[in-house]
Amino acid sequence: MEIQLLFFGITTDIVGVNKMKYTLKEGATVGNLKKLLIAKYSALKNINDFAIAINEEYVKDTTIITKNDIVAIIPPVSGG
């Protein structure tokens, strides 16, 4: 299934783009996606743990991703 990935902050620099289409197995969890991304972009290992938001809401590693979800990679925030 296809999902949309969004990258922010330092992860934009690591991946080189701020969004991409991504194909994922049906039933994959947020935790699965994190592992796949770290395997593909090893520099993600060197930063503080990143959070994931689906459709603009924070989710847990156990959340199941569904088709067409907008999945945002949220590195440690630093607003204010």
Binding site: G9, I47, I74, G79, G80
Partner: protein, 141 residues
């Protein structure tokens, strides 16, 4: 019903008077303001500018959640949370929080709660620029 929260993300200069005017009310005995400003150094290194970027639709939602929680948690009348994005120079203002209440303690507490929570949950990032490079704040262990 009167709107009790004002949430804004803008690439324009933040306006202190707008925040003050929004929360000001005859029923209130005080207004607490937190104004974040760009500091000229970090860990003894001179900063030239800060570049703020955000996941804006989600950042707005998270800022709204903070304002709604503050209204529930503290006995306050109104709260404004405004954040700027884009390049900010030393002394410029990335964030303003204004809170009004009948009695001052609630306004102080809500103001601190709002800025502390914003720094933990709102998807906004700053990149510090130095004479010799740049770094994403909080990104590395």
């Amino acid at each position: 019903m009167v709107k009790r929260t004002s949430i804004l993300i803008t690439s324009e200069k933040l306006n202190l008077q707008d925040c003050y005017s929004f929360v000001q009310d005859a029923s209130c005995g005080g207004i607490a303001l937190f104004v974040g400003t760009v500091r000229n150094s970090t860990q003894n290194k001179e900063v030239t500018l800060l570049d703020f970027s955000g996941y804006e639709p989600m950042a707005i939602k998270e800022m709204q959640k903070i304002a709604d929680r503050a209204l529930k948690k503290f006995d306050i009348h109104k709260i404004a949370i405004h954040h700027a994005v884009g390049e900010l120079k030393i002394g410029e203002i990335p964030v303003i929080i204004a809170v009004s209440s009948a009695h001052r303690k609630a306004a102080f507490e809500a103001c601190e709660f709002a800025i502390d929570t914003l720094k933990e949950t709102v998807p906004i990032w700053k990149k510090e620029h130095f004479e010799d490079g740049e770094v994403w704040v909080n990104s590395h262990p």
